[in-house]
């Protein structure tokens, strides 16, 4: 499920949107993307802006609030809560796997 990229400074990320969060992205759960190269490493703050500009066209308020994700969305980096990884300041590595989960309330 990983996309490997060898290009220098290009990062391959996999975004998964689960728990209804994918509905903001045309119902597509898994996005494999290559971020444009830049001199500084990408951090999560920049990634959220990039997602908003490139993947999310409609109703950004359902995904972001301020410069972070809106309440009720949990962010995971490589299957760990992003709180353990430095949240917005986390610097992305090649082949990182980022998941956005919206909490479910049904039952």
């Amino acid at each position: 499920m990983y996309v490997l990229l060898n290009a220098v400074r290009c990062i391959s990320d996999i975004f998964l949107f689960l728990g209804g969060a994918e509905l903001l992205f045309n119902g597509v759960k898994e996005h494999h993307v290559t971020l444009p190269s830049q001199s500084e490493p990408w951090d999560m703050k920049q990634l959220l802006v990039w997602i908003q500009q490139n993947l999310l066209k409609e109703r950004p308020e359902l995904f972001v609030q301020g410069d972070s994700v809106r309440p009720g969305i949990l962010v995971l980096i490589n299957d760990a809560d992003w709180e353990l990884m430095g949240e917005l300041d986390y610097q992305l590595q090649e082949q990182d796997n980022v998941v956005f989960i919206s909490t479910l309330h049904g039952g």
Partner: protein
């Protein structure tokens, strides 16, 4: 021929006799069932409970009943005795609560509190598998308690038919000394309420949820792990919360998650402990995959379980979350009165054969369930995105209508959906488009949508 007639006569007589016999048996059964249920007292308020009886050893019957799990070294006799001492409160006897209660009772838990303020409806039965057709209209808590008792009469069941609130939650949860398991209901305020009550009374909270084809499970407030507020300090905006009656759910998905809750509770109650204290389990039914996610630990700055908590007693959760503590759909009110018509008004429009366009803005999957024969379907999302083929389709219908209408009036478009929320949003979108992105139209919302149509105008129209 005469012989045949005689045969038929005698068969009919026999049938009649058998039918009488069946009726007698039915009433006998009903009486028995009634006396059986009446022993289960439905509580509509929180009353003090006596402590769960402590068993010092297993009876021969216990040994036979639980033999297959007693053989597990992970459980053993001590684990089984621990289960029999445990009381668990289940909040919500729905899609999660049913299998949860079933497996806890089957495994020999000591006491089960079953709380639900709702009654059994036909649309519950695909996932709430403890209830049967004959339980429709009955309190869910009682129906679940009866089913549990049929399975294991040695488990003490206490059905509560009440709404959990800031006034009664602590009192209730404190009566369940061992792990309070909570299967949560659909609404956000109740989740915060139950979380805070569990933190304030020092109980782990085994929480799960399910929607569409996905499930999630976490054990909150357990062995240094986070509470619900540590993960979600701020409630989500109400418009982002989707419940089962809006989003749909495949019954087996909450079934799997409810069984998962039962597993974790049995591990905690028997003494093995749960490994989900700092872990979120996500189940993706579509790809049949489980993901385990390592969560943050208990947060020092948490408002309820942190070092300097600001929440020291239960608060008003409805105002905290900006939404009501029910699982029912929210009613939006986006339009003025002259932008809306009633289903009766719309019936008159059809009866008078007034030319118009009826626009159904539900998703295709719902239109497949039922629709009015003359409606045009364009989902709200397509309107919001201004999908070209859909805008064209609508423009074509409006042009046709214009030809029918004399003069240069604005053709009327009536918008309908299931309950009358999305249709209001669609009216707002169409008003923006009218006169610029397409011909000018007069657009109105049909209040209450197709469900109001089914209730007030056409009782043969399906409800879902």
């Amino acid at each position: 021929r005469a012989a045949m007639a005689q045969d038929m006569c005698s068969l009919k007589a026999q049938l009649e006799e058998k039918e009488k016999e069946i009726a007698a048996l039915r009433s006998k059964l009903a009486q028995l069932e009634k006396s059986h249920t009446s022993a289960l007292e439905l509580h509509d308020q929180v009353t003090p409970l006596t402590p769960v009886k402590t068993k010092l050893s297993l009876s021969n019957e216990d040994i036979m009943r639980y033999s297959r799990q007693l053989l597990l070294p992970e459980l053993g006799v001590q684990g089984q005795l621990n289960l029999s001492k445990t009381s668990v409160l289940i909040v919500g006897c729905g899609g999660l609560g049913c299998p949860l209660a079933q497996y806890l009772a089957a495994a020999g838990i000591g006491r089960l509190g079953l709380l639900d303020y709702d009654e059994v409806e036909l649309s519950n039965l695909h996932r709430q598998v403890l209830h049967g057709e004959e339980n429709q209209g009955q309190a869910k808590a009682l129906s679940a308690a009866c089913a549990v008792r049929r399975l294991n009469s040695t488990v003490e069941c206490i059905p509560y038919h009440l709404q959990l609130s800031s006034e009664n939650a602590l009192q209730l949860i404190q009566q369940y000394p061992q792990p309070t398991s909570v299967t949560q209901t659909n609404n956000v305020p109740t989740r915060y309420l139950v979380n805070d009550a569990c933190v304030l009374s020092g109980k782990p909270l085994v929480s799960a949820s399910a929607l569409r084809m996905e499930g999630q499970l976490v054990v909150y407030n357990y062995h240094g792990g986070p509470c619900y507020r540590c993960l979600y300090p701020t409630p989500p905006p109400p418009e982002t919360v989707i419940n089962c009656s809006d989003g749909g759910v495949l019954g087996v998905v909450p079934g799997i998650m409810g069984c998962f809750q039962a597993l974790e509770i049995l591990k905690i109650a028997s003494g093995q402990g749960s490994s989900c204290g700092q872990q979120l389990v996500i189940f993706d039914a579509q790809s049949a995959r489980f993901r385990s996610i390592k969560l943050r630990s208990k947060q020092a700055g948490c408002a309820v379980c942190g070092e300097n908590p600001s929440v020291t007693k239960l608060v008003d959760y409805e105002s905290f979350c900006g939404s009501t503590a029910t699982d029912k759909c929210r009613k939006l009110n986006l339009l003025s009165r002259d932008q809306r018509i009633t289903v009766q008004d719309y019936k008159a429009i059809i009866d008078n054969a007034e030319p118009h366009v009826l626009l159904d803005v539900r998703p295709l999957v719902e239109v497949d369930i039922c629709h009015l024969p003359f409606s045009l379907n364009i989902p709200l999302s397509s309107l919001e995105e201004r999908k070209l083929e859909h805008v064209r389709l609508l423009q074509d219908r409006i042009s046709q209508l214009k030809e029918q209408l004399a003069g240069d009036c604005r053709p009327p478009v009536y918008v309908i959906c299931k309950l009358g929320n999305d249709s209001q949003k669609a009216v707002q979108v169409l008003e923006k488009m009218s006169g610029s992105e397409m011909d000018s139209i007069t657009v109105k919302d049909i209040c209450g949508g197709l469900m109001a149509w089914a209730k007030r105008i056409d009782p043969t129209f399906p409800q879902y």
